[in-house]
Symmetry: C2
């Protein structure tokens, strides 16, 4: 068990302390931002519950909570796109994490076939432009 | 108005189309991951409602929805830590955005006094280590 119960912790304990005491939302989730450990690029945003966060720390491979399937999601278990976690970081109020990962398999992470889920940029008028290549 | 109503759009329109048609959650929000446009580093994770997203596109400065204050939040309006948006990207299912920004003022973004909100990394056992300097 690597997570600390926030009950009884002060604001200072949470914001600058040395214990991982994450704040999950009403659904028991927090957002996880997954970045490429080498390039820093944001690959995807997903969600973790306590179990997913603990499994990620224990195994060194990214686990999320699939909101659509309602189950623990070991990323890459079927696609081969396992994410080896080089570093896990948490923010000041401990309600979001950043994973720095090395994607395995074909190096992708997005079900549409791109290397990242953020393959489109938005112009001021709401036009989207795809500026990445499919894998 | 730069946002497109998702009603009537197909999965393909949303996932690979050229219209910004974001999916907001039950609270009318989506997560925004803010990164440094030059280094790629993740600075913060906040939330946007439709108004915040439109204001961000229109003005070129990051606007969020403050969940704690329950109001539109023009980042830096009081702190000077305005974020000039160089690029806004959206993911495949259009329920998360990435901003690439140039932070103004003292170059920080975190209320605790660090350049990024993710100034601590977590070890396997849940120990947090601060590895950034305060501004």
């Amino acid at each position: 068990m690597s997570l600390t119960d926030r009950t009884g912790l002060t604001k200072s304990d949470i914001e600058t302390g040395d214990r991982l005491a994450p704040k999950f939302d009403a659904d028991g989730l927090l957002p996880a931002v997954t970045t490429d450990a080498d390039t820093g690029e944001v690959l995807m945003v997903a969600y973790m519950n306590a179990e997913a966060l603990e499994k990620t720390l224990e195994t060194g491979e990214a686990h999320y909570w699939s909101r659509s399937r309602g189950e623990l999601w070991h990323k890459g278990a079927t696609s081969g796109q396992v994410q080896i976690v080089k570093e896990l970081r948490i923010d000041c109020d401990q309600d979001a994490v950043v994973l720095r990962v090395r994607p395995q398999g074909d190096g992708g992470c997005c079900h549409v076939g791109f290397r990242t889920c953020f393959f489109r940029k938005a112009d001021k008028d709401g036009t989207l432009t795809t500026d990445q290549e499919r894998l």
